[in-house]
Symmetry: C2
Subunit: 295 residues, 2 copies
């Protein structure tokens, strides 16, 4: 008997699930990072290790993974070389690689139409209407990812320098940042010079916390970030989107700040991205493909 | 007889002047780049070559530079190691290294109080009241330099992606950018990933041009940039500054956009940065130091 495998591979960890040909999940497991862009060989190793561990968890012989059909959701799926290399090297009978965003959308919405706003260190929006899937944003930190944790943290450090220079009035938020850098703007500049998006992003929760307390600068920074999200939601709604799930690490923090006009469209995700990967595997490789598509 | 030397060393070229002990400029010359941070040895070589060429231009024996007193205005003057290395290696009898900004201020304002706003690829403000000199901004592209050409160009590329994604309405400005990148947002992202501040800055004049014609996006981007400058001028005025010179490549473009409340304080520079370096050399090493200070 062959099984379905779902993989949710991210930069921090890789999660795997094994399901029967009716899509019932039998076992789940977690392994190390699966970033196919920065380290494809480690990613491959962790994908395989995760799949084997899910088999063990389900009480199955892990050697069976070679007979499986798999759907993998991977960041960087749109970068051709990495994907070809990984797909060629996977041990599964058949494998289909999708974006990490698409399996998240599938998990969150099931087979319904709608959109997900993935709000984490970066931001990306995915909209599905029937068979049409459309990506918005997701262009990365340098000139994109508005509303992301990285951009919020970046804006906070910039604002802190303006306060230091006496251009803007201080607030408890900027004072806490200045204190952290020993009141030395050069330390902030040096930090920012070397910072990766995740390093900026670690300041984002602090902005939300201070905004809750009415900190003027936190409120302004957050309003700018929220505006950039509301603008995309406006666009999605204009295109016919009725349901939006907020996903990603900042989703619970953003929830109450999203504009009133969008609040009625926000829905809780039905399931997680790993479940979405299994659902896509079921649709593609399930025992009765046509019925799976119609669910 | 010994002479005074002024040096204006920048990332593109190095300018040098020789003057007599009364500060009368006898010869000027130009040599290659003098970036003491990225390439101190080439900088040293171009500083010496410039000084010798100024002597030749003045009809003097270039061997005489070793008896001179020099003031050098150099970008990166606040980075200790580079400055110590360059100062130790200079062939002059005495040498004093200042910021490129301070010699620009000295040239622009002479010995009067006031401030300069240096608006180019980056932005920095320098204010002088009597013997007190204060720097504002100049923290570099990553989290500073608001209103700079680099930040304007960066904002334009970001806006162009928002237009591509259908979040904002297009304008002739963003259409011209999209066309330049073959209507492919990935080309813009890739450009931005590799771009140095100067690469972003090359888009800034286009924003000014389109704003002159009433382009909506250009007007908005420019308003944001101008606001960041007006805010600093507000701060300078609150501290007592009465005169402001706009310097740098974007100064003539910005002039008409600066807020009305500041227009009466804007003045033309008296002289250039090289003249400022000579003036500082005169004040420091001139034939009658006390009278030079009192001028």
């Amino acid at each position: 008997m062959t099984y379905l495998i779902g993989i949710d591979g991210g930069g921090t960890s890789c999660r795997a699930a094994v399901a029967d040909r009716d899509g019932r999940i039998l076992g789940r497991a977690k392994s190390g990072a699966a970033n196919i862009l920065s380290d494809p060989d480690t990613a491959l190793q962790n994908i395989i290790e995760g799949a084997r561990a899910a088999f063990v968890e389900a009480g199955l012989d892990p050697a069976g993974i070679t007979k499986c059909f798999a759907v993998l959701g991977l960041a960087g799926h749109n970068v051709g070389d990495a994907v070809h290399y990984v797909r060629r090297s996977l041990p599964f009978a058949e494998a289909h690689i999708e974006s990490d965003g698409l399996i998240a959308l599938q998990g969150a919405l099931g087979d319904k139409d709608g959109a997900v706003a993935i709000l984490g260190t970066g931001t990306i929006y995915i909209e599905r209407q029937g068979q049409n899937v459309r990506y918005i944003g997701g262009w990365g930190f340098t000139i994109g990812d508005l509303g992301s944790g990285a951009r919020i943290g970046h804006a906070l450090l910039q604002e802190t320098l303006l306060v230091h220079d006496g251009i803007h009035a201080p607030s408890p938020l900027t004072s806490s940042v200045l204190a952290e850098f020993h009141n030395d703007p050069r330390e902030i500049v040096e930090f920012a010079r070397l910072a990766k998006p995740g390093d900026f992003g670690r300041f984002a929760p602090r902005v939300f916390e201070h905004a809750e307390r009415g900190d003027v600068i936190a409120t302004l920074l957050l309003a700018t970030a929220v505006w950039s999200i509301d603008e995309v939601l406006d666009r999605l709604v204009a295109q016919g989107t009725q349901k939006v799930c907020l996903l990603g690490g900042l989703a619970p923090l953003y929830l109450r700040w999203i504009a009133k006009r969008h609040q009625s469209r926000l829905t809780e995700p039905e399931a997680d991205a790993l479940t979405g990967a299994v659902a896509l595997a079921l649709a593609r490789y399930g025992v009765d493909r046509s019925s799976a598509h119609e669910r």
